[in-house]
């Protein structure tokens, strides 16, 4: 555990050894390897010596194979892309009058745009990393019980919950739309669904959980999922007054 933490910040840097060092963290994917090669060789991205880069790329693939590293399909796809570009480069191009035109024809360009796009997001990731460092260096510690139920908020009992559920079912039966057998939802899926909703909203109303229910089965599954979340102490149910709408919110993790 401790070791992991000690290693993590530095292993991200590509390790510059004698040219045959492979770090999977550094070369996340084929685009990362290409960017690394381009930077190391100080190559002009708009004029990539494709034969040389392809050769080096394939060398790395060989090294990884020798090391028994399981190569994902994208590594081989990139290899074939490079070889394809290389072969297209060998085909003599007819001279165009307009140099702009020739530009568009360059078989390397699509790859270049892909590399630039990738570098762009690597930079964005770097920015997030810096921000994370700063955030990791600050603390905020509210008194643990500060928001514990203010006076007018009452915790909801299981009976309130059952009553609210029967109310929802009653209303559903009143409208009695046709019960269409939709895709069967499981309690597990519903739990994930509720968790996800709570990521997007701080609180959700009990009734809104059932707003999209078209069958009684769906409602029951939803209700069971909610009970499960309560049991696991993941959510907290509150209402402003007895008989008022029940509000569901995430339980704060006790740090």
């Amino acid at each position: 555990m401790d070791n992991d933490q000690d290693l993590s910040p530095d292993t991200r840097e590509p390790f510059e050894g004698n040219g045959v060092t492979v770090r999977l963290e550094a070369f996340e994917g084929p685009l990362d390897l290409l960017l690394h090669l381009i930077k190391r060789e100080e190559i002009d991205i708009w004029n990539i010596p494709i034969a040389r880069i392809t050769e080096q790329y394939l060398e790395y693939i060989q090294i990884m194979k020798d090391l028994n590293i399981n190569l994902a399909a994208e590594w081989l796809m990139m290899a074939s892309t490079l070889i394809y570009i290389k072969s297209r480069m060998l085909v003599p191009q007819e001279k165009k009058e307009d140099p702009e035109d020739e530009d568009i024809e360059d078989p390397r360009h699509e790859l270049v745009y892909q590399l630039l796009e990738h570098q762009k997001f690597k930079n964005a990731a770097e920015m997030l990393h810096t921000r994370e460092e700063v955030e990791n260096a600050v603390w905020n510690k509210p008194p643990a019980d500060a928001l514990e139920d203010a006076n007018e908020i009452v915790d909801v009992s299981l009976f309130d919950l059952l009553r609210a559920f029967s109310e929802v079912v009653r209303r559903f039966e009143e409208q009695q739309v046709m019960e269409v057998d939709h895709e069967e939802v499981t309690v597990e899926q519903m739990i994930l669904d509720i968790r996800n909703r709570l990521l997007l909203h701080d609180t959700i109303l009990f009734s809104s959980l059932f707003a999209e229910s078209r069958s009684k089965r769906h409602m029951i599954v939803t209700f069971l999922a909610l009970l499960e979340l309560v049991r696991m102490h993941e959510v907290r149910l509150r209402q402003k007054k007895t008989f008022e709408e029940i509000q569901i919110s995430k339980k704060k993790e006790t740090a």
Binding site: P30, M78, K120, V138, P142
Partner: protein, 179 residues
């Protein structure tokens, strides 16, 4: 109510709050004051608070205000708390997160296209850490899941809102200089 008193209450509320306090939330506390008055009072209070050379700062995060220690004191605080820095997100997770943040709502296939590699495990980590949430489904064949960043994301990276992120053009420029 006197502005100084309003400001004192605001400071206290930001202190006790678990989540960043949104300006609108002060409206519930001061129903007689206009939003404009409250916002002005808040702004002045935050500025004055942060101008003093104290150990705490009020920072704007995820659309609200929260009180935290200052980053420059982290070493001493860690020594006192006897803690190590939290486990950080891996570079793969950060890259995936960057794509989600800038391209949201985005599908797994779209992330793959930009990163040039499978990102499902990185995305899984982000979902687990609540940085990313499912925001819907794309109305195309197969109805793939669309992902977006959560409020937790803003808090984790100390962002006021998504607009607080530097523009992608800035990173594009940087990329052009690097390559």
């Amino acid at each position: 109510m006197e502005t100084t008193e309003i400001q004192a209450v605001m400071e206290a509320i930001i202190y006790v709050a678990e989540e960043p306090v949104k300006p609108e939330q002060f409206r519930e506390v001061f129903p007689d004051e206009t939003m404009e008055t409250l916002e002005q009072a808040l702004k002045a209070m935050v500025e004055a608070f942060n101008a003093r050379p104290g150990g705490m700062a009020i920072r704007e995060v995820a659309g609200g205000f929260r009180m935290t220690t200052r980053p420059e004191h982290h070493e001493q605080i860690r020594t006192y708390l006897k803690t190590r820095p939290n486990a950080k997100l891996s570079m793969a997770a950060l890259e995936t997160l960057a794509v989600v943040a800038y391209k949201q709502p985005v599908t797994l296939a779209e992330i793959l296209a930009i990163r040039g590699k499978k990102s499902s495990s990185a995305l899984h980590t982000l979902l687990e850490k609540n940085m990313v949430a499912i925001v819907g489904r794309k109305q195309v064949v197969g109805r793939p899941i669309l992902y977006g960043t959560s409020k937790e994301f803003l808090i984790h990276f100390g962002l006021k809102s998504l607009k607080d992120l530097p523009t992608l053009e800035e990173f594009a420029q940087l990329a052009n200089e690097q390559l």
